[in-house]
C-alpha cells in the first residue's frame, strides 16, 4: 500500500488530509502555529518539502473551511 507524500507544495492534498484526519476541527479558530502542528502530525507529511510561505496558513485555513 502506497502512502501519499504530503507537504506544503500542494495545498489541495494538504486540505484533504487535514479534513480526513480532523473532521471536527474549526480551522478558523486555529493560530498559524496550531495549524502547522496539525500539518506536521499528518501521516505521510514530509518536512523535506517546501516550507510554508507567507500566506500559506491563511490560504489553507480558507480552503479547509470554505471548500474553496
Amino acid at each position: 500500500m502506497s502512502t501519499t507524500t504530503i507537504n506544503w507544495g500542494d495545498l489541495d492534498v494538504l486540505v484533504d488530509a487535514l479534513r480526513a484526519a480532523h473532521p471536527r476541527v474549526d480551522p478558523r479558530a486555529l493560530e498559524d502555529a496550531e495549524l502547522g502542528a496539525l500539518v506536521e502530525g499528518l501521516e505521510g507529511y514530509s518536512a523535506s518539502g517546501p516550507a510554508a510561505g507567507p500566506g500559506d496558513y491563511e490560504a489553507l485555513r480558507a480552503m479547509w473551511h470554505w471548500g474553496a
Binding site: 474549526d26 478558523r28 479558530a29 510561505g53 507567507p54 500566506g55 491563511e58 490560504a59 485555513r61 480558507a62 480552503m63 473551511h65 470554505w66 474553496a68
Partner: protein, 200 residues
C-alpha cells in the same frame, strides 16, 4: 417608540465592535442586502450568501447583547447615526473585488474585536461573540485566498480599495488596544500579496 440608550454599556472595544450605526444599517436598513448578488460564479454566490447571513447574524448578536444590557427592546432600532468610515466602506462594497478587500481589512478588524469581546467578557459575551469572531476570521481568510488567486478579483481595483480601507480600519481600531493585533495579522498577508502595508 423611544430609541434604546446603550451608552452606559459601551467601552473602547465594544464601541467600535458594536457600532450602532453599523447595526442599524445592516439589521434595520438592509444596507448590505445587495451583497448576495456579488458572487461572480455559483460557488461564490454561495459564499456571498453565507457572508451576508453571517453579517446579519453578527449585527443581531451585537444589538441583542446591547439591548439586553440596556433593558431595551431588541426590535426597536438604534437612532439613525453616522457609520464609521471603515464600516461604511465595507457596507458599500459594490463588487466581488471590493467585498474581498473589505473582508480582508475591515472584516479582520471585526474578527479581532469580537474575539476580544468573547475572551474578555462574561459567559453571555462568550456565547454571543465567539462564533461571530470566528465567522469574521473565516471571511478574512477567504478574502485573502480570493485576492491571492486573482481569478475573480482585479489587482489594481483591490489595491485602490485597500488604500481607502487600511487607514480607515486603523482609525476604527485606534484606542481599542486591538490595532497591533490587527496590523500584525494583516501586514504579512499584504506582503504575501506583494502589497506593502506602508504603501497602500
Amino acid at each position: 417608540m423611544t430609541e434604546p440608550d446603550t451608552t452606559g454599556v459601551l467601552d473602547s472595544v465594544t464601541s467600535p465592535a458594536l457600532n450602532e450605526g453599523w447595526i442599524r444599517a445592516v439589521l434595520f436598513d438592509h444596507a448590505i442586502d445587495d451583497w448576495v448578488d456579488l458572487g461572480p460564479d455559483p460557488i461564490r454566490r454561495r459564499h456571498a450568501g453565507q457572508i451576508y447571513a453571517d453579517h446579519v447574524g453578527a449585527a443581531y448578536a451585537a444589538w441583542k447583547w446591547l439591548s439586553d444590557r440596556a433593558g431595551a427592546d431588541v426590535d426597536i432600532p438604534p437612532a439613525d447615526q453616522a457609520v464609521p468610515d471603515a464600516l461604511a466602506l465595507e457596507i458599500g462594497a459594490g463588487d466581488w473585488t471590493e467585498l474581498m478587500a473589505a473582508l480582508l481589512t475591515v472584516g479582520r478588524a471585526q474578527a479581532v474585536l469580537f474575539a476580544e469581546l468573547a475572551a474578555g467578557g462574561d459567559e453571555a459575551a462568550r456565547r454571543a461573540f465567539d462564533r461571530v469572531g470566528r465567522d469574521c476570521a473565516g471571511h478574512a481568510a477567504l478574502a485573502f485566498l480570493e485576492l491571492r488567486r486573482g481569478t475573480f478579483t482585479d489587482r489594481d481595483r483591490a489595491v485602490a480599495a485597500l488604500r481607502r480601507m487600511v487607514p480607515a480600519t486603523a482609525a476604527l481600531l485606534a484606542g481599542t488596544g486591538a490595532d497591533s493585533r490587527w496590523s500584525g495579522r494583516l501586514e504579512p498577508l499584504l506582503a504575501a500579496l506583494g502589497w506593502d502595508l506602508t504603501k497602500v
